[in-house]
């Protein structure tokens, strides 16, 4: 049994290494995706195109707008007359957000009851969220700066220097960008690993069927489970290499700190990767041709992305969707990844997810072997 598994592993290994181009793609894809995704999200959050209707046109409004622009969150693309023009710009898609500063802004500020109107394109929740958060923070910071200036003017004894740490403090705590990446990177690593592991094995069996080589394998005494395990091992290595690169790049390049125990994370990621490869093999076993396998792979990756808790919190989903979520290893691994990566918690808090993931990983391989068709018809 072991000899046969090793023979298959060796064969797969040689074939993988011999196909340089595919190997290079396999080894660079997740890293590329990580950089693209993280960067795309980064960009989206910042530089939101904005139109401004400054009906006040005074010192106070200009200083407020300067703060908005300086934050990098908003790019002022044009100035318009009033609310109607702002809505028009958002409808036309030229702007994602608009700011209406009422007349007498300076007077209102002086009275301490200034109101500005922020209009955000709600059709893009990511932008909405970021714009809303950013505008909120910028406005509050601006207000505090004003208050501090006021204070230092009325009480010359206290210099504004003494008061400035307060501003800094608020800035870090509410920096929405930082929080987004902290939250996103562990989930993204998990998601990319699932996509890749499924992609690695989803063609493994169906390709042999397509090439006809399955016939020679079927007349040999290889058992289905041996075939599955043999095909998993070389891919396990590729997936682990990728896991390491994206964790390293995720932490270094994006400055997301790794809070927890790395060996623990590595060990659990191994189980996770195994589960993903198993799911890929399952797809490969039931598919009649590579096209079908690819479609199933796409579907699973996409649905997994949505209902695994990577983007939307699972507790807000209907029970049925939560249930379906359990067919994706990602669902089990997201709490593990976020827990260890961001919160730095130990295994004592993760037993449930770890046990579920392990059962899943073992079960899926057996299931894939069971569904493997041992005949040509």
């Amino acid at each position: 049994m072991l000899r046969r598994i090793l023979a298959i592993t060796q064969k797969e290994f040689i074939q993988t290494v011999r196909d340089r181009t595919t190997l290079m793609i396999m080894l660079s894809m997740p890293l590329l995706q990580l950089i693209l995704f993280a960067y795309a999200i980064h960009m989206d959050v910042k530089h939101i195109p904005m139109v401004i209707a400054d009906q006040s046109m005074d010192q106070a409004s200009r200083s407020y707008i300067t703060d908005m622009v300086r934050s990098d969150y908003f790019d002022i693309i044009s100035t318009v007359q009033g609310e109607a023009d702002v809505i028009h710009a958002i409808d036309a898609g030229t702007a994602r957000a608009g700011l209406v500063i009422p007349p007498n802004f300076a007077a209102q500020v002086d009275r301490g009851s200034a109101n500005v109107l922020l209009l955000v394109d709600g059709s893009d929740p990511f932008t909405t969220q970021s714009a809303y958060n950013a505008a909120n923070v910028i406005s509050q910071t601006h207000a505090i700066t004003l208050a501090l200036d006021d204070l230092s003017r009325s009480m010359p004894a206290i210099s504004s220097q003494d008061l400035s740490p307060l501003t800094t403090h608020i800035n870090i705590l509410y920096n929405p960008d930082l929080k987004d990446l902290w939250f996103l990177i562990p989930g993204m690593i998990a998601m990319l690993l699932q996509t890749q592991t499924i992609a690695l094995t989803s063609l493994a069996v169906v390709r042999e069927r397509e090439a006809g080589t399955i016939e020679q394998i079927l007349v040999s005494p290889i058992r289905p489970l041996e075939l599955m395990l043999g095909k998993t091992l070389p891919n396990l290595l590729i997936a682990l290499i990728n896991m390491l690169t994206i964790v390293v790049v995720g932490t270094l390049a994006f400055g997301v700190p790794f809070q927890g125990n790395f060996p623990l994370f590595l060990g659990l990621a191994l189980i996770y990767v195994f589960a993903g490869l198993g799911l890929g093999l399952l797809i490969s076993s039931v598919s009649q041709n590579p096209r079908q396998a690819q479609q199933l792979n796409m579907m699973i990756s996409l649905v997994g992305l949505i209902i695994s808790g990577f983007i939307f919190p699972r507790y807000t989903m209907p029970v049925v969707l939560q249930g379906i979520g359990y067919i994706f290893p990602l669902t089990y691994f997201i709490p593990i990844a976020r827990g260890i990566f961001t919160k730095g918690i130990g295994i004592e808090f993760l037993w449930g997810s770890v046990a579920a993931l392990t059962i899943f990983a073992v079960g899926i391989i057996f299931f894939a072997a069971r569904l493997f068709r041992q005949r040509l018809d």
Partner: protein, 319 residues
């Protein structure tokens, strides 16, 4: 019982196709004794590949029984796989592995120890004439060498029975002869039972038992000479100057059993050689038709096959 290497009894395989069910094997019964070289002879689409695959357990069977070395094709698949070698019709070895890697892979999955591999693989490579090509990718071998590699791989676990599906397909004539002499050696030295599918009549002559398969049915089985004797009467061959009118005349003549065309030649089966010849020559002459090369020949497998097939067709037609 142990003298039977391969047996099929009332074997049926029905494919479900878009045009409805298709009986690729229709109530097929055959028996191959140990040490025999059995040729399953039939044209393309006759059901040779399907028969081989069902016997090996690669396809499920719709009805009947089949077994190899007493092991049931469907139930004892792993017992069969450890004892039987197989060459598929198409080249189905991993093309991106080298010759030696292929050999090692199939040796290892057959559970052969490293030491045994080190002894056996060079032997087989030498036997197949592949010693100088061990590092070449299997996909880059010539047609003949691919078949030899497939043969070497199928023999690695010293099987008692090999099933070869058109092992000389896409192979040049010289390599074909080489391949058959390899098979001859195997039979002589190892007493290997060989079951070989082929559409080539001349290859059937090299077998000691031949089964003729046509439309999924075994229409005759015997030794090659036995098959040839199944054709009634004697065979005349000639080349008419005007083919169509000459052929149309032949059918109705007294003493003529069957008319076959063979390129530009006509093959006429007659009850009595000399009398038939005279009748034919007289008839052609009286119609002003010319001919050349009239002679009596020994019926070959080819004529026998065509004769048996047309008899079968006629029988089916009557029913």
């Amino acid at each position: 019982m142990t003298e039977i290497a391969i047996s099929a009894n009332g074997l049926v395989k029905t494919f479900r196709t878009r045009k409805g069910p298709l009986n690729a094997i229709d109530n097929l019964t055959l028996e191959v004794g140990r040490g025999e070289t059995y040729g399953l002879l039939g044209p393309d689409g006759a059901g040779k590949t399907t028969t081989t695959r069902v016997i090996l357990g690669l396809l499920s069977r719709t009805g009947g029984q089949s077994s190899i070395l007493g092991f049931d094709s469907m139930r004892d698949t792993y017992a069969i796989r450890e004892r039987v070698g197989y060459i598929a019709q198409q080249f189905v070895l991993p093309a991106d592995l080298t010759v030696i890697e292929n050999m090692r892979f199939f040796a290892s999955v057959q559970g052969i120890s490293q030491e045994a591999q080190d002894a056996r693989i060079p032997e087989l490579l030498a036997f197949a004439g592949l010693t100088d090509f061990t590092r070449r990718l299997a996909g880059q071998l010539s047609g003949g060498m691919k078949k030899k590699l497939a043969l070497a791989c199928s023999l690695i676990h010293q099987p008692q029975v090999v099933l070869l599906d058109e092992p000389t397909l896409g192979v040049d004539p010289v390599s074909r002869r080489e391949f058959w002499s390899l098979l001859g050696n195997l039979r002589a030295e190892k007493g290997l039972t060989i079951f070989v599918c082929t559409p080539y009549m001349d290859e059937a002559e090299r077998c000691n038992q031949v089964g003729l398969i046509y439309k999924g049915r075994l229409i005759a089985h015997d030794t090659p000479s036995g098959i040839k004797k199944m054709v009634p009467g004697h065979l005349l061959e000639f080349k008419p100057a005007k083919f169509v009118p000459a052929r149309d005349l032949m059918g109705g003549l007294p003493g003529v059993l069957e008319v076959q065309t063979y390129g530009a030649m006509l093959h006429i089966f007659v009850e009595e050689a000399e009398r038939g010849r005279r009748t034919i020559e007289k008839t052609l002459g009286s119609h002003g038709l010319e001919w050349s090369g009239m002679r009596i020949i020994e019926p070959r497998m080819e004529e026998a096959f065509i004769s048996l097939v047309s008899r079968q067709e006629a029988q089916d037609h009557d029913q």
